[in-house]
């Protein structure tokens, strides 16, 4: 995925410490993301481990997918609290979100390996905000992120928030991941 600077879509709101077992439960890790059809299947299981009451805040009990066999979700942006993606190193976590049609996550901060996997694989934009947006945004709100201006607008409520600059990972996201980035820098043969 090449970096889109404007990302617009519906929000799915989660809380703190959404770990990789909630993002993609271990029972689905038998799928091999290197096989395109299996990569797509990860979309269906994205967020399958989130307990129902904690999925789609503030009310909860909002399914991430319309139907149980849908590969892609109606939501494009996840808004979460602290320490998103903690737990295992499984790259299947950002892959599952990408396969489900998620373009960006907006969280207070990320667990290190999840952040690195998101950027190096070029799957999703891991945006950060100083504000606790998971208590301000409602699931279903229409959001627009502007990654150049570092802003997030809630089109449903009219509220505007600032995002932390993505900083040194921008060139990697712009290239589409660490491999295209390394090639563009001459670190790997083109």
């Amino acid at each position: 995925m090449k970096l889109e600077k404007i990302i617009q879509g519906k929000a799915y709101v989660l809380g703190d410490n959404i770990d990789t077992d909630q993002i993609i439960p271990a029972e689905y890790l038998t799928l091999n993301p290197a096989i395109p059809e299996e990569y797509r299947q990860f979309g269906r299981h994205a967020l399958a481990g989130v307990p129902a009451a904690q999925g789609g805040l503030p009310k909860g009990h909002v399914p991430f997918h319309k139907g149980p066999t849908d590969l892609v979700s109606d939501f494009q942006i996840i808004v979460a609290g602290r320490n998103f993606g903690c737990g295992s190193s499984r790259e299947h976590a950002p892959i599952a979100l990408d396969a489900a049609g998620i373009k960006a996550v907006v969280a207070e901060f990320y667990a290190r390996i999840f952040y690195r996997n998101s950027v190096n694989g070029g799957y999703i934009v891991p945006a950060e905000t100083a504000e606790r947006l998971c208590e301000k945004v409602c699931t279903g709100d229409e959001l627009r992120l502007n990654l150049d201006a570092c802003t997030m607008e809630n089109l449903t409520t009219g509220e505007k928030y600032s995002l932390r600059p993505l900083g040194e990972v921008v060139p990697i996201l712009e290239a589409g991941g660490v491999f295209p980035y390394a090639r563009s820098k001459g670190m790997l043969p083109a």
Partner: protein
């Protein structure tokens, strides 16, 4: 030159620099890359896609492949993934492959690595598993990475890393007999939170740490990731050197270092070990700390003793001490981390009985060496929580659904506490059995 921490020294040397600063991005040479059956197929895919179908790994003897996650299952996809590893190993001619069904099969990668001589002080070990930080117990920099990073390392032997600031945890005094390394690290995680060390190195130091055996040091470092740590590390001492030399048949030279006097630590935490009490992490987070004496009596359905952090000989010796001659009240699952541990359970004795006999006589079930139910896995996985039951476990993570069912409740505790609780069917203070 500014004083450096142990982590900074190792990273600087591997970047060809005399020193590094926290926050600096550097390219380092990797000594060992480990992958397993869950992340290996994806890593191999990334490698082929980017370096070509006929590309060769950067160094055959530096790639270690240890299937361990989904081994004893009828799941076809899981078995297919081990086949992907087999094909790759054959094509590449890799010497360090511990195949399922062969005499070389080991079990959990983080314990297999040191047993087979792949951990050495001063090195950089990367693995496609978050608990790769376990190997920091050998005085090396070890951390978990994803498939893309691992594919990159496979082709180039290099990766970029941001130098982490170091948090220092000093343990003073000898561990009382009712406490284990698991209590120490659960206390630390309870204090700093499961994001308390995010992006940071966790260095463990103090006479209380050096009094621990190698396996207990591995338990400490194993759970650095549960505080968000990039790596856990303990400077090598004579115990480390003796262990590593006894295991590395090739006798590869290594560098023993420690943090300089005056090295910059982002924060320092000091614990008097004698004042600590047995700890559990309540559902559903490893930082949801409670003291055993505060939650004793909590009814349980199952006890589980196993995994990289809780399935080593030290863990089973501790559990056997409590279970010997007694009977468990709830389903109790014992899973040795590796085949070597499994063999030792059959030979090592306590009071005239082997540890295996002690567990079986107590009514526990013993599974085959692997990750098993620590991370749930396919539904036929040994010990998996297929229902919304309550389990006390020596494993390292208890977020919702970790051991299977989303509504299952997992309490993390030391092998002593888990064994004591297995006898009563409720959370039980090991001090009732161990003075």
């Amino acid at each position: 030159m500014a004083a450096q921490t142990l982590t900074e020294k190792i990273l600087a040397r591997h970047a060809g620099k005399s020193s590094v600063e926290p926050g600096e991005n550097i390219w380092v040479d990797v000594d060992i890359l480990m992958t397993h059956d869950v992340c290996g197929p994806g890593t191999i895919g990334v490698f082929h896609q980017n370096f070509g179908r006929d590309a060769k790994v950067w160094a055959k003897d530096k790639v270690v492949i240890i299937p361990d996650h989904y081994i004893f299952t009828a799941d076809k996809m899981a078995n297919r993934n081990v086949d992907v590893l087999r094909t790759f190993v054959k094509e590449q001619g890799l010497p360090h492959f511990y195949d399922v069904g062969s005499e070389r099969y080991k079990g959990v990668c983080h314990i297999a690595l040191p047993e087979e001589g792949h951990t050495r002080p001063g090195e950089i070990l990367l693995g496609t598993d978050s608990h790769t930080c376990t190997a920091g117990a050998f005085g090396e920099f070890a951390t978990g990475i994803g498939n893309t990073d691992a594919g990159f390392v496979m082709g180039t032997g290099k990766t970029w890393l941001k130098v982490p600031p170091t948090l220092r945890f000093v343990f003073n005094g000898d561990l009382p007999p009712y406490l284990m390394a698991k209590d120490l690290i659960l206390a630390v995680i309870g204090d700093i939170g499961c994001d308390g060390a995010t992006y940071q190195a966790m260095e463990f130091d103090g006479d209380g740490v050096y009094a621990l055996n190698i396996e207990e040091r591995m338990t400490l470092c194993n759970m650095a990731i549960e505080a968000g740590g990039k790596n856990g590390i303990i400077a090598a001492d004579q115990k480390t050197i003796d262990f590593v030399k006894s295991r590395d048949k090739a006798g590869k030279p290594f560098v023993v270092e420690k943090s300089d006097a005056g090295a910059r630590f982002a924060r320092e935490f000091v614990y008097d070990v004698k004042t600590l009490r047995p700890v559990v992490a309540k559902p559903h987070s490893p930082d949801n700390r409670a003291y055993v004496d505060e939650c004793k009596g909590t009814k349980l359905d199952r006890a589980y003793i196993g995994s990289c952090t809780g399935g080593k000989m030290t863990d089973f010796r501790a559990a056997a001490k409590i279970l010997a001659g007694k009977e468990v009240k709830i389903d109790t699952f014992v899973v040795p981390a590796t085949t070597e541990v499994a063999r030792n359970l059959k030979t090592e004795k306590l009071g005239g009985k082997t540890l295996e006999e002690i567990f079986l006589n107590a009514g526990a079930k013993i599974g085959e060496a692997s990750c098993a139910a620590c991370l749930g896995g396919p539904s036929d996985t040994f010990g998996r929580l297929n229902q919304a039951i309550r389990c006390i476990s020596t494993t390292n993570r208890n977020f919702p659904g970790r051991m299977g069912h989303k509504q299952a409740e997992v309490f993390l505790a030391s092998p002593l506490t888990v064994a004591a609780s297995a006898l009563t069917g409720q959370i039980t203070d090991p001090r009732e059995y161990v003075s």
